[in-house]
């Protein structure tokens, strides 16, 4: 569904991502793992058109993504939740969700989707008129996911979904991610928390210093002694 080949990203003269390639197939969860500063977020931002791509190709459902404006990608069904959650603190929960269905593709089904979101996240329904800035970390995470779902994604990208959240909340989030996958939405997630990610992901790639080091199914990687030693002590 999503194919990225040889992606290179640079900040001016400083190259950060060196020829990264990965694939996400239908109804699967793929994780890109690696330590801080490996270039994971940079890769995602470049993919979504927020950073210039130096070289390489990327396609989503056979449509090339290079040079496509970000909002059009969202309209194709490629939705990303950035690292610091995606909710707008000055808007209410409900307004955030309404905004989530901004694209022409998602707009007609807004009411239907919203009902689904309220059902999935009853806590959000309770707080629908509250400003998003007043929500707790976990609630904001839910709102971010809910908002992303409003865009009726076919591939959901999550940048460090476990960051700054209590373990219980993280577990809950990952359960929801699995549920999302089961509903037919593919998930690409970038994570530092290897163990957690490997439990949920079908396939994983490991990124270090801007290059892919290894990849495989989660069971393969979990069993790999090198991976265990280098990363699972995190």
């Amino acid at each position: 569904m999503l194919e990225v080949d040889g992606l290179e990203v640079a900040y001016g003269d400083l190259q950060v991502v060196w020829g990264v390639s990965f694939k996400v197939s239908e109804s699967s969860i793929v994780a890109i793992l690696g330590p801080n500063g490996a270039g994971k977020t940079t890769t995602l931002l470049a993919l979504m058109g927020l950073l210039p791509v130096k070289a390489g190709s990327a396609s989503f459902k056979n449509n090339s993504l290079i040079g496509v404006p970000t909002h059009q990608m969202v309209n194709l069904g490629l939705v990303m939740i950035p690292e610091e959650r995606a909710a707008f603190s000055s808007l209410t929960v409900e307004e955030n969700l309404e905004l989530g269905a901004y694209t022409p593709r998602a707009r007609p089904r807004q009411r239907e989707t919203m009902a689904e979101v309220w059902e999935t996240f009853p806590r959000l329904a309770e707080r629908r008129s509250q400003k998003a800035g007043t929500l707790s970390g976990g609630e904001r995470q839910m709102l971010a996911i809910g908002k992303a779902l409003m865009a009726r994604p076919e591939l959901l990208i999550l940048d460090e979904p476990s960051l700054g959240l209590a373990p219980i909340v993280v577990e809950k989030s990952f359960n929801i991610i699995t549920e999302i996958r089961d509903r037919g939405v593919s998930v690409l997630m970038v994570e530092q928390h290897l163990e957690m990610a490997l439990q949920v992901a079908d396939h994983a790639y490991i990124l270090e210093m801007g290059s892919m080091v290894t990849d495989g199914t989660s069971s393969e990687l979990a069993a790999d002694p090198r991976v265990r030693e280098a990363y699972l002590s995190l």
């Binding site: 970000t70 909002h71 309209n75 939705v79 707008f88 603190s89 905004l99 901004y102 865009a151």
Partner: protein, 293 residues
């Protein structure tokens, strides 16, 4: 003495309404695009001239030509965005403000000198049948056109408030103001939002200009003075916030008038500037703004 003070209060509030209207456009452009357009006053000036010439050549009443001026300046604002400010918005926020300050400063020079060239430096005022009419309430004289100006300012503010809070596009505007990257990831066409926001900003300036050409006067160099007033109002209200702009404008107008009564007319402007500097020093987020990071 009482009469003088009351009259000053009223005059101050009336001109304050204008300050608020001019500030609305500036705040919109700054809030959404994070761009500081110091040529805002020049757009005001152009709007004023447009009304003036429509009246002088075709006898069209300025209140009737106002919608047309709005549309014309909306288009001009769109053009300015596409040819100039679009390139400024390519940089990140930090440098964007600095660059926009500089670029629009160049624009000030260009627009102002072209105005001098084509319109001459004379002061122009529109004089209609009703332009010297006034209500007399007790001791106070309230010129009709200036009161109408205040009304327009309030209406514009209410309209903007409605746009921002109740429409889909308004939500997109607010989201873009908060964080354009997140907005793009939500599927908002940020470039289009910028374009429209800037065009509205220009159009609002022009409408203010129309009101000023009938209630006060226009000449090629009034731009910077109004821009400065607008900047003061925007800072008083809280840089980046749209709420309370009219209120802040009224406050400024009032303070100026009272200062003029107390210190003498020459110090009217200075009072405004000193007030501004004081607020900036002690409460930089303004009356209604959130404290900035």
């Amino acid at each position: 003495m009482t009469q003088l003070i009351l009259q000053s209060v009223v005059s101050g509030l009336l001109v304050g309404g204008m300050y608020g209207l001019v500030a609305l456009g500036l705040a919109l452009a700054f809030g959404v695009l994070k761009v500081l357009n110091v040529a805002h006053g020049e757009l005001l000036m152009l709007g004023g001239y447009a009304s003036f010439f429509a009246f002088t050549f075709w006898g069209i009443d300025p209140f009737l030509s106002m919608p047309v001026v709005f549309i014309a300046m909306f288009a001009f604002g769109a053009i300015l965005y596409l040819t100039l400010f679009r390139y400024v918005t390519r940089t990140e926020i930090h440098t964007r403000i600095k660059n926009s300050l500089l670029i629009s400063f160049g624009l000030v020079l260009v627009l102002q000198s072209m105005a001098v060239r084509f319109f001459t430096a004379d002061e122009r005022t529109i004089s209609t049948a009703y332009s010297s009419d006034a209500f007399t309430i007790g001791l106070v004289r309230v010129p009709v056109v200036r009161l109408a100006g205040l009304a327009v300012a309030v209406i514009a503010a209410l309209f903007l408030e409605w746009l921002l809070s109740s429409t889909r596009f308004g939500r997109a505007l607010r989201a873009t103001s908060e964080d354009w990257t997140r907005a793009a990831l939500t599927g908002v066409d940020v470039k289009r939002v910028y374009l429209v926001a800037f065009a509205i900003s220009a159009a609002l300036a022009a409408v203010a200009g129309s009101l000023i050409s009938i209630g006060y006067s226009v000449s090629p160099n009034i731009g910077l003075g109004w821009t400065l007033k607008a900047l003061i109002v925007v800072v008083l209200a809280g840089l980046g916030s749209m709420r309370g702009i009219i209120v802040a404008g009224l406050f400024l107008g009032l303070m100026e008038s009272l200062a003029a009564v107390w210190l003498g007319g020459q110090y009217r402007e200075v009072a405004a500037l000193v007030l501004f500097l004081v607020v900036l020093s002690f409460r930089p987020q303004g009356f209604f703004g959130r404290a900035h990071a």
